[in-house]
């Protein structure tokens, strides 16, 4: 079992949170600022700007959360903070 290291655990937890938070900002707001330019690109008939708001960002959110759950679990284990 890894050594109990509370402070390093929290700093790694925080940086994972900030990474996810920035991604959240980008896919909640950032890409949609450019909806007009993205709409000039077509994929499967979808204008890309419309597609990002209707599906693209949602898919990113779902994938992000599974990766987050996994990454945080790895951090907990490596820093000796996991349950049981």
């Amino acid at each position: 079992m890894a050594q109990d290291n509370g402070e390093r655990h929290w700093s790694r937890t925080s940086s994972l949170m900030w990474t996810m938070f920035v991604l959240w900002l980008i896919f909640s707001f950032g890409v949609h600022f450019f909806v007009d330019s993205l709409n000039t690109i077509k994929i499967l008939g979808f204008p890309l700007g419309f597609y990002m708001a209707a599906q693209g960002s949602l898919i990113v959110f779902v994938i992000m959360l599974f990766i987050f759950a996994h990454r945080q679990d790895v951090i907990d284990r490596e820093e000796g903070q996991a349950e049981d």
Partner: protein, 658 residues
């Protein structure tokens, strides 16, 4: 859990039986009854089998719900009757701008997972106010949290019960008030005996019913139209067709149009064009408020108290979003197919005498209007359109007014599917409304029984008394909500969207700062909650109910145009000059205009948290720094909250193994 699996298998068998009955000529009404009563019976059986006499099981389902099933239950808890019935319709009406709801109601789960839920699970609270009491020094913070919780949950639950009444009324021809109380019985059967444990497993069953009901009609439609049963992929084609039809209709004057740069007529509000209804500020403000609201609504947060571990709480948020995503990424496809259907009808130049049957079906319910009158008879429609100057005698988009609810409810009929599918959709809408109502009622009743009664009034109450009080309060809150719903309060229904801003402004800053900033103290949290929530309520109530004085006080911050300001002055003069008999009417006109222009920087009141959130965060920060730091014990507690390892902070007293 075995019952869940059996239930979903049984559900499919049941749909097939009803389909056979339809073929045999059993009247539609009985098929409708069959769907509604049998699904409610299934929920009730699960609810009764899950009865419990343990406090831990009643409040947090014994903290034993696996991540996957908790995700499904959260999905049902989250998706309301309005999401199920109205979301696709909103997208139909608003096009791109409606996607702010799709984004806002999904992205919030990222905040739930990374900022809040795992930490609250480690905390070991029974209710959200538990966290406030423990972290921010007791009774007063708890009471503030209870007040915010009740404000945002009660209007919401009333709307859910209202939705069950509407669905039962439409599909079963029941009297609305009777339907409301039938819905109430369904809700209480699911929740009263088993609390959170029962609600969890009925919500899992309800999720299965609602997602199947949502997907089937649109999957069939996609397979029929484009040969591929994946509507989420094929509606790209539909969107192209929509754009082409928009241009054709604009050229023929069959849709409200504008001139493009080259002087050609184009549709004024094309489906894919952004910011035709909301300006960018309001579009992004709405997304932010819905997302942050999602991360603060107590009935959602408390679902993550039920998982066996912190790790499972995180996984469970991911599963929740996945199950919610399945519905929300389908809704725009529904909207696109429905729009294509309606546009094709209009673009080919349909005579007013030849309106399709579904328009009459929903016209009789007051949900489809042409030229301003309900579509009940062809003569009336033709007469109404005849009064419009230069009307070409064929149906135009600008004549047509479709209620948002019609889109999902009528898709089976528009696509010519058998009635059994329409019954399925009704059962799905009912499942969505019932499951959300259950979660909300439990959140309110638990706050009253656990936080107010047990923690503040009678801390020595025995387990038995606590559970009796919890159940009695549940029944009372449910009755109060059903009574309110039965009066058809238009205001309450329009206030539901406010719940997100209220929860966001009142709870989010203190929740996040309490976990992520050790220095946050009691004084700061209390100031933040009162000021954040206060600003939000002031803006909501001010712009809605006191619009005239709000505008007069804050007009210099508003964005009204010169013409709008002049009109305000004219209407105000008219009101002052009006004789006694005409005062009320003159005031109504003035107030209506004031509601349209009263604002700070043009922000619509649905996004009031845009002001409440920064005020809340700033108040916590400034007041905390001006007052003494929290004690070492509180700092240590925050540290322990951040580490999954070890016991929960609040010890479960319900004598549980977990």
């Amino acid at each position: 859990m075995a019952t869940t699996k059996d239930n979903s298998g049984g559900f499919f068998g049941f749909v097939i039986v009803l389909a056979i009955l339809e073929q045999l000529g059993v009247p539609n009404k009985f098929i409708g009854y069959g769907f509604v009563f049998l699904t409610i019976a299934v929920y009730a059986v699960i609810g009764i089998l899950s009865r419990t006499s343990e406090v831990g099981e009643y409040y947090v389902a014994g903290r034993s719900v696996p991540a996957f099933y908790n995700g499904m239950a959260t999905g049902a808890d989250w998706m309301s009757g309005a999401s199920f019935v109205g979301m696709a319709g909103t997208l139909f009406l608003l096009g791109y701008d409606g996607l702010s709801f799709v984004l806002g109601w999904t992205g919030g789960y990222v905040l739930v997972a990374i900022l809040i839920a795992p930490f609250l699970r480690k905390f070991g609270a029974y209710t959200v106010p538990d966290f406030f009491a423990e972290r921010f020094g007791g009774g007063f913070a708890r009471m503030l949290a209870v007040i915010v919780l009740i404000c945002c949950s009660f209007t919401y639950v009333t709307a859910q019960i209202y939705a069950t009444g509407i669905i039962a009324q439409r599909f079963l021809d029941m009297d609305f008030v009777v339907a409301v109380y039938v819905g109430l019985v369904g809700i209480l059967l699911c929740s009263m005996l088993g609390g959170m444990k029962a609600v969890t497993w009925t919500q899992v069953a309800q999720y299965i019913v609602l997602i199947v009901a949502y997907l089937i009609p649109v999957v069939i439609l996609s397979a029929k139209k484009y040969g591929i049963p994946l509507p989420q992929l094929t509606y790209g084609q539909a969107i192209q067709d929509i754009t082409n039809l928009e241009n054709q209709m604009a050229a023929k004057g069959l849709i409200a149009s504008a001139k493009d740069a080259a002087g050609n007529a184009v549709a004024a509000k094309p489906h894919i064009k952004p910011f035709t209804t909301y300006d960018p500020l309001n579009y992004f403000a709405l997304i932010l408020c819905l997302m942050v609201g999602t991360a603060s609504l107590p009935h959602i947060l408390m679902r993550y108290f039920t998982t066996p571990s912190v790790r499972e709480a995180r996984a469970s948020v991911a599963w929740s979003l996945f199950f919610i995503f399945l519905l929300y990424f389908t809704a725009p496809a529904y909207a696109a197919f429905a729009k294509l259907e309606v546009y094709s009808l209009v673009a080919k130049g349909t005579q007013l005498a030849d309106l399709p049957a579904w328009m009459y079906t929903y016209g009789k319910l007051g949900l489809v209007k042409v030229c301003g009158v309900d579509v009940t008879t062809a003569q009336e429609v033709i007469a109404a359109c005849g009064k419009i100057a230069n009307h070409p005698g064929v149906l135009r988009m600008q004549d047509l007014n479709i209620n948002a609810d019609v889109i999902v409810l009528s898709t089976p009929e528009i696509a010519g599917m058998p009635y059994v599918i329409a019954g399925l959709v009704a059962a799905g809408g009912l499942a969505a409304a019932l499951s959300t109502a259950d979660g909300l009622l439990l959140a309110i009743a638990n706050a009253l029984s656990h936080d107010v009664y047990y923690k503040m009034i009678n801390p020595n109450a025995s387990t038995k008394v606590r559970l009796i009080v919890a159940r009695v309060l549940l029944v009372f809150v449910a009755l109060a909500a059903a009574y309110t719903a039965s009066t058809k309060p238009a205001d309450i229904l329009s206030m539901v969207a406010w719940a997100f801003s209220l929860a966001a402004a009142g709870l989010f800053p203190a929740l996040v700062m309490g976990i992520w900033w050790k220095r946050a103290n009691t004084q700061g949290a209390i100031a933040g909650m009162i000021l954040g929530f206060g600003v939000c309520v002031y803006y909501l109530v001010g712009t809605r109910y006191f619009a005239v004085s709000f505008h007069e006080l804050w007009g210099w911050l508003g964005t009204a145009s010169k013409a709008q300001l002049d009109q305000f002055a004219t209407l105000k003069q008219a009101w002052i000059a009006a004789p006694e008999a005409g005062k009320a009417a003159a005031w109504a006109a003035l107030d209506r205009h004031a509601q349209a222009i009263a604002s700070w920087w043009g922000v619509r009141n649905i996004s009031a948290a845009l002001f409440g959130l920064p005020v809340g965060f700033l108040a916590i920060w400034i007041v905390s720094l001006l007052t003494p730091a929290p004690s070492q014990a509180v700092m240590d507690m925050v540290d322990a909250t951040r580490r999954p390892r070890g016991d929960t902070i609040i010890k479960d007293k319900g004598a549980l193994a977990h």
